[in-house]
Symmetry: C2
């Protein structure tokens, strides 16, 4: 029997307790031992829970219990999770977490502490919910150099964009629907501004390239400026608009990383990933493109990934899994203005295309029968140069309504 503790009894935490209870037999078969929930940390009362006798409001009840070997942190947020996780690792307990904010902010430090204390720190659930991605990347793809990782990493924004594309719904209405269905938080900023996707691509980039990438070093755009006009132009160009988190290894060893809405060609495997689903493409030098698809959030999908990590920790109480990266200073990150992409531009005014061609050289005009304004796509250009040229276009009397990257996916 291995004793474990769960810190947090919210959506994911209660799911972890539920799966450990309902799937006891299968887990026993997989592990050869029983997993016993000895403590659950939450400040709230759960008198009607079948596990009511295990609840505590005092973290020290977990920290000081030497029988507890594995702790699941499913509270969310950096504080106090960071302090609790650090103390657990230092006291020789393995920790698993679904907390992407914590891993993106403190991953390198916590991995180092885990290593020093010969315990494991696992976080399969922090990216892609129930989709296996951290373990496949660190184990199955170990014999590959990862050339690129690109994904639809946030289900809320993907739901909103899908509703705009499939049903012609306005952004605000689609957001409200997502909130009503429970896909979006009442305060949706972390999702719609791209911060959640940013944390996830930071974790994947750290894993792929071995150095921690901090979210504040990553150019991040959300989807709040995307309009139905853009969606229709994208369609006319054979694309759908998706919020993409992407990191690519460059020839000089630097990484080009960003989160932004992109026009994704219909033929791309990421174009067909709709509604609240996530999809992650990993391009290895040996495997070519491998894509992982599934529900990126939700109580049981996420909790099942946490439980898989608990099982893995229970199996490896005395040996360390290899999952590690060092701290990063950001010097390996290409400045956003040097990142290269073809760009979609929607604009209003007279002679937009001839003015655009004067500034950008040849552009591809997107024809649309029912359009009031004009849209074109530039050839590949650095983001810095693009912004300078867009300023020139505006100086020429053109009203630039929106600009979106073309995803080379």
């Amino acid at each position: 029997m291995v004793s474990v503790a769960i810190m947090g009894h919210g959506v994911v935490g209660s799911g972890v307790a539920e799966i450990l209870t309902t799937h006891k037999k299968k887990l026993f078969a997989g592990l050869g031992e029983e997993i016993y929930i000895k403590k659950i940390l939450d400040l709230r009362e759960f008198p009607d829970s079948p596990l009511a006798d295990r609840f505590t409001k005092d973290f020290n009840d977990i920290l000081n219990d030497r029988e507890i070997r594995v702790v699941a942190e499913v509270m969310g947020g950096v504080n106090p999770a960071y302090d609790f996780v650090k103390k657990c690792l230092k006291s020789g307990k393995s920790v698993v977490t679904s907390n992407k904010e914590l891993v993106a902010a403190k991953g390198a430090e916590l991995l180092e502490i885990a290593k020093e204390n010969n315990v494991n720190f696992l976080f399969e659930a922090s990216v892609g919910g129930g989709i296996p991605i951290i373990r496949p990347m660190s184990q199955c793809l170990v014999a590959n150099n990862v050339d690129e990782v690109a994904g639809i990493l946030n289900g809320t924004t993907n739901f909103i964009l899908t509703k705009m594309i499939a049903d012609g719904m306005q952004f605000d209405d689609a957001l409200k629907l997502a909130q009503d269905l429970g896909f979006a938080e009442r305060n949706p900023a972390a999702d719609i501004e791209g911060h959640d996707a940013c944390r996830k691509i930071c974790i994947l980039a750290s894993l792929a390239y071995g150095k921690h990438v901090y979210p504040d070093a990553v150019h991040t755009e959300g989807i709040t400026k995307i309009t139905l006009e853009d969606v229709k132009y994208a369609e006319a160009f054979g694309c759908v608009i998706k919020l993409i988190g992407k990191v690519k290894k460059l020839e000089d060893g630097k990484i080009d990383i960003l989160v932004a809405p992109m026009l994704v060609p219909n033929e791309s495997q990421l174009a067909n990933i709709d509604y609240e689903f996530n999809g992650i493409m990993v391009r290895g030098d040996c495997t070519g493109d491998v894509v992982f698809y599934g529900k990126g959030a939700g109580k049981l999908p996420t909790a099942s990934a946490v439980v898989a990590d608990i099982v893995d920790c229970c199996k490896h109480l005395k040996t360390r899994k290899y999952l590690y990266w060092t701290d990063g200073d950001g010097k390996n990150i290409l400045p956003a203005e040097q990142s290269v992409s073809a760009m979609y531009v929607r604009a209003n005014g007279t002679d937009v295309i001839s003015k655009a061609e004067n500034i950008f050289g040849s552009v591809s005009v997107i024809e649309r029968a029912d359009a009031d304004d004009t849209a074109f796509v530039t050839s590949e250009i650095t983001y810095g140069e693009f912004n300078e040229k867009i300023a020139s276009l505006a100086n020429d009397g053109v009203e630039v309504l929106s600009t979106i990257r073309i995803g080379d996916l």
Copy 2:
């Protein structure tokens, strides 16, 4: 340093040697030790290989070398691979293999021998080539009961079907093109008759449900009878034809397993998996649908999965990975005639639909402007009853041209 041996220097075997050489630095970082290729078994001569001094034609040079801890079997075929693998496991060496025929025929026995000898027997590369699927299913999805696994498991047939669908190419021409491009063997029977896909779904079913499923217990149909007429009717019905390997857990604990071409609705995640790519959907009770996509074959994708298993064995020289199933007697397999599906029927004759409705009850007629014959879709029906009714339809003077399952995917 861990010494390993490679048995077989064909396409996959030479890829394994290549990756172990070219990715030495990355593998060292992942493992913390060097992997040294001590012996390569092949009956042919490779005087120009940089590893020429490691080749042997005598299996005993590997078996009797106590320094060799891990052996990669990449010869293919059951004999002599089976004998060699058994002897290696019994002498305390871990074995990894890409050989789906071997795993499908002898998996339970070899897993048992590995367990008795406290070594590992891993076979990530046997299904889906470079796509991580065995490890995600056995580890990441450990906290799920697997309700269903369905996949496009054979790249050759998927290439042929895609060419028929996308370019209107005849089956024979598409097969020849696949052969010219190296996707299909000169003797393509194992692919186009469905046997290769059958071995793979047997491996996945054994893994998902814990009892070995032997290929000869599985109803298997290939794609040789699929015509362009069927492809066009499928399109008119909002579907594409794919060769699907599928296993589903039924309420009585039995499994419904088969390999057959199916009409897959365009909205299914499996519908967009084209050309030589593979895609595998795993439906867990907690995760919902998770899909894995990538190249299912080829030298480097497959070899990189073999190398990942080698690394895993090197990491676990003293501990066993949990990857195990027991032998199966086939009693948990639903007889094919009891398997339920809606069925597509293409037929010729007078009053086909009224005769069909007399026999099947209400059917959905597929309308197609340029068609010479008639096609309809039945409601769900057991395969046994369907065949009886098709015989009645033939007795009524209807020429039945083809019958294909509707994939509920």
